[in-house]
């Protein structure tokens, strides 16, 4: 019933401390100088400016759940014990993608080429975290849309590669979300390019 919906030019709200966590920051023991802190903040701002986040989503009916298999309306079979558990009580699956665009990857490469690896690593971490946060936006948006229909979203979402939800299933997401049209490519190892691209799935269930 529902096609692929697009969300462009996103500026997601993100949890900054998770960027620091990705960089090995330990709140209890860290001794971060003002200079190092300012530099990290500058690079996070630079990342925000450089990211060009697009997200897309699609709702698909779940025909059957036979753990570990989840069968979607078009016959696609997703496999994962935890995924099956996540989607139990759900009649619809929400498939999502978010991509941070090419520019941020060019920035990371340029910084590395210029020998500024300590900057590249911050941009890399910030880009991953902020792009991932775009999926929170997708979920918040969809939650508002489905609420009047008496439906709610699962709190959690899973991405291929999580637990027994195999990374090779990125190919199914790639096809179902027409990721190619967003400038994303997938290689034989199921790695997405631009690298700051992510797929995820959540469930939709009825209120009553």
């Amino acid at each position: 019933m529902y096609g692929i919906k697009i969300m462009k030019n996103l500026k997601p709200d993100y949890n900054k401390s998770l960027i620091y966590t990705r960089l090995g920051y330990n709140k209890k023991s860290a001794e971060l100088s003002t200079e190092a802190f300012k530099e990290t903040e500058r690079l996070i701002e630079l990342t925000k400016k450089t990211l060009d986040i697009t997200a897309a989503y699609r709702m698909m009916n779940i025909v059957e759940i036979k753990p570990p298999e989840v069968i979607l309306e078009d016959g696609t079979v997703l496999k994962g014990q935890k995924l099956s558990k996540l989607l139990e009580n759900c009649n619809t699956a929400l498939l999502m993608l978010a991509t941070g665009g090419k520019k941020v990857m060019e920035l990371i490469t340029r910084l590395q080429d210029e020998g500024r690896l300590s900057e590249a690593v911050v941009v890399d971490a910030a880009a991953s975290e902020i792009t991932d946060s775009a999926l929170d936006m997708v979920m918040a948006h969809v939650a508002q849309i489905i609420r009047p229909r008496g439906q709610a979203l699962t709190k959690m979402r899973f991405s291929p590669g999580y637990g027994d939800f195999d990374i090779t299933q990125q190919r199914d997401f790639y096809r179902l979300l027409d990721a190619q049209s967003f400038g994303i490519t997938i290689n034989d190892a199921c790695l997405l390019l631009p690298e700051k691209s992510v797929f995820a799935i959540a469930g939709i269930r009825n209120y009553f």
């Binding site: 969300m7 462009k8 860290a30 200079e35 890399d124 609420r147 008496g150 209120y207």
Partner: protein
């Protein structure tokens, strides 16, 4: 219902709205997944009975059950063609239910798809779609409109414009806010309020998303800026999933207990959203029986906003710099960019100005030979996407102005409206329709008056005409209109008289295009700065100027302190304290006060080369510097990282500083008659075939180098055979492999097989996000979980090999 009647409704009382319908109908058997509005049309008796219950419970206004009945959303059910009839039917049903006791608000919400620039629905498409819905609601007999549960301010604007273009009925507009107190698309409560009330909403507020607790804060943020009544329509707390069903965690009693707090925060109308029932409204009616609207003194500021940020303008507040650099007059590069349609350049200039301290940006697309209206809109789109600062739309083309005002998702300032008849007739109604502020330029059809007295007469005249249309002094920035002192020595003084009069007598905010004053003079910045200081002393509130001028911006910050606009010098201290620190650092480095050891510890890449050179000039030997300072320092950095005192960027910065020092010292070692530093061993490093994520591998390679290893980095996506060849060629002690994915980590045992097949006498260490120790050991490799432990592991492997 007229707007005046609507306003009167709020006199001395708390207006009650209805509660949830959707959740109630679902409980009563409306199947999930159906089109709720179509289902309601087939069950109007049930809808009416519920709406009647709300009226009986005390609701003064009930909403028609047409939340999602716009053609874009209905098209998802193949029902777009029925937009008019569905809306009319459900408006009539609500009208019947309300009878004489209640008012009916025609309910409009999001079209379900995002508007540009976030989605594919163009602004005019949304306006037209809402119009189709509104026509049905009007013919169904609604008394007013409500726009609710909006996540994007631009979509709420589209709905208000659609209503305004079809009728004069009152409009309530409520947005839904996320836990971070912003709408999903990033609008804060004040920017939403300012935009919506300026555009013509007769009441503004919030609904859905959160419970009453969170809404107290949203309402209290809005209240000091509100010219219209405020509305709160919260959910019955948070939904929870229990035993296969959704329950809301607040019962009617506890829900109603927040009425007092909401009214105290400034709410004038209360109702309920998801999870609430007629019982909740009944309790709310009881709780509000003896409550009256609170009067909060409204802040007397001029307010301009984008969809994400409001700028307050007042002589008691910090001076608001308006960036002038998005005006192509005299700017060749911008002119060329506009001719080519290069909006990235426009975005860059916008960012640059905001980073330099501009609070607002003037936007002008006046280049001969281009379609001003299209280019102006493209510039606004680019600026809105790049920065949050509100804008001044700088044009004398009425068509371009209307197009720009229509799509600007906030409250813009028109630059400018003068006493010229054409401007008054064309621009003032546009400012009114779209709720814009405007710069009042004191010129008229006879030209630019030279004296302040003549200008003041025009200001009074334009204001009189604007006031008749409903504008207040807060909606205006008067331009002092300075001309160059090169041709008229009195020009600056006359402009200052106008500013002073506006500040002291007329009580309006002011602005000026500062740089005009120095036109034709050399060293213009000095004249501009002096004039700015004089104007600020006379009460100037804003200026259109170049924020990239350090001299001018220093002056702005300093005069904010001197004129008590930056009380306790908080902004000043915050801005300049950093500068003092960085200058100290620079001078320390220059004077050689920092040791090489400290430079590595602090990762001082910028000064380390100079420090090394100074040490060499002073006669120290390269070997001493390496053994005595660099190596102990980099070991210390590693130790600090291991203890969690440093995080990854600091570890790498230490290595980067070390690398720069070694680049100078290695040739010196050889000159001193020695050899380059002894290698701890040779490592061939690569990211395996199929894997292109190499930042982790690059970090390990850099650290290994700086901890004394000879590193051969083969890059990413490397075939196993190439790794083996390199290991043979360089007599590798260790092969280090990285893989990010489960699909590529399988390459690692394959490389190990080749190592064995070729009989290479080297160890293998592996790392990467998806690996673990067990996996590594399953094919005889060693595992490290981060970059520094990889160095430790390599050292251990070399030691094990030696003993």
């Amino acid at each position: 219902m007229t707007k005046r009647e609507f306003k009167k409704l709020f006199n001395n009382r708390i207006v009650l709205l209805d509660g949830g319908m959707g959740t109630l109908l679902q409980k009563m058997g409306m199947p999930a997944g159906v089109c709720p509005e179509k289902w309601a049309c087939e069950n109007t008796d049930l809808i009416q009975s519920l709406q009647k219950k709300y009226v009986e419970a005390g609701a003064n206004i009930i909403y028609s059950f047409t939340f999602g009945a716009n053609p874009i959303k209905l098209s998802e059910y193949g029902l777009a063609e029925e937009t008019y009839s569905i809306n009319k039917t459900l408006a009539m049903a609500a009208r019947k239910a309300a009878g004489e006791k209640g008012l009916v608000a025609g309910d409009i919400s999001s079209c379900g798809s995002l508007l540009a620039p976030y989605g594919n629905i163009e602004f005019e498409e949304a306006v037209n779609s809402f119009k189709e819905q509104i026509k049905g609601l009007l013919d169904g007999g609604v008394d007013l409109f409500v726009i609710e549960t909006m996540m994007d301010l631009q979509e709420a604007r589209a709905a208000i414009i659609a209503i305004k273009e079809l009728c004069d009925l009152p409009v309530i507009a409520t947005m839904t806010y996320e836990p971070n107190m912003r709408t999903l698309m990033g609008s804060d409560p004040v920017s939403a309020l300012v935009t919506l009330q300026s555009l013509g909403a007769d009441a503004v507020g919030c609904n859905c998303s959160s419970g009453p607790v969170e809404m107290v804060e949203i309402i209290s943020k809005m209240k000091p800026y509100a010219k219209v009544p405020l509305v709160a329509k919260p959910n019955a707390g948070k939904p929870r999933f229990k035993k296969g069903k959704t329950v809301f965690d607040m019962d009617a009693e506890s829900f109603a207990s927040y009425a007092e707090a909401l009214v105290e925060a400034g709410a004038n109308a209360l109702g309920g959203c998801c999870g609430t029932t007629p019982e909740y409204i009944e309790k709310l009616a009881e709780a509000t029986k003896n409550l009256y609207p609170v009067e909060v003194e409204r802040k007397p500021y001029s307010l301009a906003c984008s969809n994400r940020q409001t700028v307050e303008i007042h002589p008691s507040l910090p001076f608001a710099v308006i960036g002038e650099r998005l005006n192509p007059t005299g700017k060749k590069a911008l002119k060329e960019a506009l001719l080519k349609g290069d909006m990235d350049y426009v975005s860059d200039i916008a960012r640059e100005q905001v980073e330099a301290g501009a609070k607002l940006l003037d936007i002008n697309a006046g280049v001969p030979g281009i379609d001003e209206k299209d280019v102006l809109v493209s510039m606004i789109d680019a600026v809105c996407n790049a920065v949050s600062a509100p804008i001044l739309i700088d044009t004398s083309n009425a068509e371009a102005l209307e197009k720009a005002l229509r799509i600007y998702p906030g409250r813009a300032i028109i630059n400018s409206i003068s006493g010229e008849r054409d401007k008054l007739e064309k621009f003032l109604p546009l400012a009114k329709k779209y709720g814009a502020m405007f710069v009042l330029l004191p010129v008229n059809d006879t030209g630019v008056p030279e004296t302040a007295e003549e200008r003041i007469a025009i200001i009074k005249d334009v204001y009189r005409k604007a006031r008749k249309m409903g504008f207040t002094k807060e909606d205006i920035l008067v331009d002092g209109l300075v001309m160059t002192v090169a041709s008229n020595p009195e020009a600056a003084l006359e402009a200052l008289k106008v500013i002073n009069w506006c500040h002291k007598r007329f009580k309006t905010n002011t602005t000026m295009g500062l740089s005009n004053v120095s036109f034709g003079l050399p060293a213009r910045e000095h004249v501009n700065s002096a004039f700015l200081a004089m104007a600020v002393a006379n009460g100037l509130s804003t200026a259109i100027m170049n924020p990239n001028s350090k001299q001018m911006m220093d002056l702005v910050r300093a005069s904010d302190v001197l004129s008590a606009r930056d009380r306790s010098a908080i902004n000043y201290t915050e801005f300049y304290s950093g500068e003092v620190v960085s200058k100290e650092n620079a001078s320390n480095a220059k004077e050689g006060l920092k040791s090489l050891y400290d430079a590595i510890i602090s990762g001082d890449r910028n000064n380390i080369e100079e420090l090394v050179r100074q040490e060499l000039i002073s006669g120290r030997l390269a070997k001493d510097l390496i053994d005595g300072e660099l190596i102990p320092a980099i070991q210390k950095v590693g130790e600090l990282y291991e203890k969690g005192k440093y995080f990854l960027p600091q570890l790498i910065r230490g290595a980067e500083a070390m690398e720069k020092a070694m680049a100078i010292l290695t040739p010196e070692l050889i000159k001193d008659g020695g050899e380059s530093t002894e290698s701890k061993g040779t490592v061939v490093i690569a990211t395996v075939k199929g894997d292109v994520h190499d930042i982790g591998k690059n970090i390990v390679a850099m650290l290994l180098k700086n901890y004394g290893f000879n590193v051969i980095d083969l890059g990413k996506d490397v075939e196993g055979s190439r790794i083996i060849e390199a290991a043979k060629e360089h007599k590798a002690d260790i092969i280090a492999l990285s893989a990010l994915m489960t699909t590529t980590m399988g390459e690692m045992p394959k490389v190990m097989e080749l190592v064995r097949k070729e009989g290479l006498n080297c160890s293998m260490m592996v790392g990467g996000a998806v690996l673990d120790k067990n996996y590594a050991e399953s094919f005889g490799a060693h595992y490290s979980n981060d970059a520094y432990s990889a160095v430790k592991l390599a050292e251990k492997l070399m030691n094990d090999n030696l003993h």
